[in-house]
């Protein structure tokens, strides 16, 4: 048993941390958000230079190697800096499809992703899906030379920035069956593809993607026909573990900011920090953060677990704890900040919004409790 980071991991942690403190001040972040795509291409180049974009891909596929623990380290720092760039969407989720599916263009795509010249997005979620991962109603018609896609996807992270969209669509089975899902690589400027960007509650950029008679060649199929769910599930497992890391970074900074605030805000003739009710609240926030950290580590270790049942159960465990901790820490960070906590401008408010988004991404607490319950009942 060893919870220490390796020396390479410590170096990675330091270099991402340095990047954050140098570039990611709150004012800078506002500037990044005001850029045309809602994030900074310049930062993206920095990520490429540091090797972050190729992290998590095997070296023989054009990546830089690295495990889920490395990804967790990066995301934890990103959580602290409240990074707005679509790392999760492009590198972890889109990249997850590249990691877990085998197809012709894969190595080229990984290389282009790693050097920052190409972005990816997973276009999977649909309006009626709620958190059910196998919900896919996007239709596929087979033609002599390939496929025609019809449907609408929502909440596609950085859908308007991505060069390639990995679109899930139904080639067989019913609307929520795991079998019969296939994944297609769709270029965003393909005829019939409409991408409508919009703002998410955490300030990041999402898009709705409408596919109206999008004609694709045979080679657009990613992995095996009808068996896309396994790939999707693995990519989402990676992303779930990654947001657990981000959540820990977020909780750390929220707690830190609040503790500083309590020390400096004076009411009733002295600092708020002298009220024991508030000291205890901060202590509870600390406990919740540490419990979450343990589960983020667990998620990172288990994300690569090949046994589906073991992996899914572990990741659901992690998301339940992360969700509960985020909920408490986020709400209390706002509460203890008083009025300023509910302003749009204050960093704690922005961190709380990101927390609220993470609570929902890849399933909320109730959803994962039900998944665990279902797994346990059926085994």
């Amino acid at each position: 048993m060893d919870f220490d980071l390796s020396s390479e991991q410590s170096m990675l942690k330091d270099s991402v941390h340095r990047l954050m403190t140098q570039r990611y001040t709150q004012e800078a972040r506002q500037r990044f958000m005001a850029e045309p795509e809602g994030w900074s291409r310049d930062n993206w180049r920095q990520f490429a230079e540091l090797g972050l974009l190729g992290l998590g891909f095997d070296e023989d596929l054009g990546g830089f190697g690295g495990t889920m623990v490395d990804t967790m380290i990066v995301l934890e720092s990103f959580g602290r800096g409240l990074v707005i760039e679509p790392y999760l969407g492009s590198v972890v989720l889109g990249g997850g499809i590249l990691r877990h599916a085998e197809f012709g263009a894969r190595a080229d795509m990984i290389a282009a992703g790693a050097d920052g010249s190409r972005l990816f997005a997973l276009a999977h979620e649909e309006e009626g899906a709620r958190y059910v991962l196998s919900h896919v109603s996007t239709k596929v018609r087979r033609t002599a030379g390939g496929f025609v896609l019809e449907g609408r996807k929502i909440n596609v992270i950085a859908g308007d920035s991505a060069d390639t969209l990995f679109v899930t669509a139904r080639t067989g089975g019913g609307i929520r069956d795991q079998g019969g899902i296939s994944i297609f690589a769709v270029s965003k400027d393909q005829a019939g593809v409409t991408v409508e960007p919009y703002r998410a509650i955490d300030g990041s950029r999402y898009a709705a993607v409408t596919l109206a008679g999008v004609t694709l060649p045979e080679s657009a199929l990613v992995g095996t026909i009808d068996e896309g769910f396994a790939v999707l599930d693995r990519a989402v497992s990676d992303a779930l573990a990654a947001v657990c890391g981000e959540a820990v970074g977020l909780m750390e900074v929220m707690l830190h900011t609040v503790v500083e605030y309590l020390k400096t805000r004076n009411q009733f003739g002295g600092p708020l920090a002298r009220f024991q009710a508030l000291q205890h609240r901060a202590a509870e926030m600390y406990v919740a953060t540490e419990q979450a950290r343990s589960m983020a580590i667990y998620a990172a270790m288990m994300a690569g677990e090949p046994d589906d049942r073991e992996r899914r159960r572990a990741l659901s465990f992690a998301k339940v704890q992360i969700g509960k901790s985020l909920h408490f820490v986020g709400q209390q960070a706002v509460q203890l900040s008083g009025g300023i906590g509910v302003t749009d401008e204050y960093i704690v408010g922005q961190q709380f919004k990101r927390s609220t988004a993470i609570e929902r991404q890849f399933g909320d607490v109730d959803h994962h409790l039900s998944l665990i319950d279902a797994i346990d009942r059926h085994s």
Binding site: R199, Y206, D344
Partner: protein, 400 residues
Amino acid sequence: MDLSYTPAELSFREEVRAFIRQNLPDEIRAKAGLSAYYEAADLRAWQRILNDKGWAASHWPVEYGGPGWSAVQRYIFMEEILQAPAPEPLSFNINMVGPVVYTFGSQEQKAHFLPKIRSLDYWFCQGFSEPGAGSDLASLRTSAIRDGDDYVINGQKIWTSTAHDANWMFCLVRTNTTGKKQEGISFVLIDMATPGITVRPIITIDGEHHTNEVFFDNVRVPIANRVGEENKGWDYAKFLLGNERTGIARVGLSKGRLTRAKRLAELSQTQEGKLSDDPFFRRRCIEIEVELKALEITALRIIDRQRKRNDGQPDPASSILKLRGAETQQATSELVAEVAGPLGLAYTHGGKAPWRDFAADDLTAVLGAVPNYFLARAASIYGGASEIQKNIISKAILGL
């Protein structure tokens, strides 16, 4: 002891329901169904309708334009408004400044202000909090110095909600800097058009403009606009906050949200089936419903006790209503946001979906639920934060 409404009270409830049904303008009703915010014009229009009926100031004495209802009738009225849902008569006017004016104001002030407060011709905002005076309100520093027939006011207020819609402010100012800080505060009414006042917006966490900073630079306010005695403003403020807290439980609002969450859950499919059939979800709804029932009865008990004591003193037990009222408002806003699920991730502003139009009766009506949840976090901060309510209970009731 009797918990049921009398036949007369039940028929009163029917009368209120029917009035709201027939008179609430459609465009205002539609906003409530879509998590959209009411505009200032909506509030003005609706309060005029209520005022014309004589219902704008439900708990004011008849001589000042109240309808002469019993405590139970008043309660029923507010519940029906909130559950409809329809906009509440502006709390700053009706629950806060009105009672201070008719209890402590001069004859002239009563005659001039009360009708305009009821009709919303005068829209009041509340200038209490300052950057250095939040929970510790008595440490406020905005100063009022006598000069002839005027006070000259300098300083800054913050979190002044609706100051951008208001044409008047009731304001706490410091008229004495020596002695106990509570004993140097006065309560003045300020015309927002007076030169030297600057209103600057604060955008809240839901991305909207509800509240403001207000700056005073040598603002001249007639001494005649002071309510009650000089340096006695703290007593009036405590009276006002006590009234605010009784009205703040907003059980009806939470009930309305709960109903809405259940209705929307019918449209949402989990792994197992409809969300509305999900046992976790159902139990959570029931738990909230139980809490609301208890809160409703507690509110009625406190109202009943206040009515019987009839000494105008704030009841420290009203802190229960503020505390649990804020919690249930938050729990229900959270519930709607949970029903929204991943659809809630899209930010929407005033009732438009990012990818298509939506209607009150389809699932996209949940859009906007998350910003509402964000704003509801403020309920345990304003009007005396939850921690402060607990301090009041532990000190004033439990003697700790």
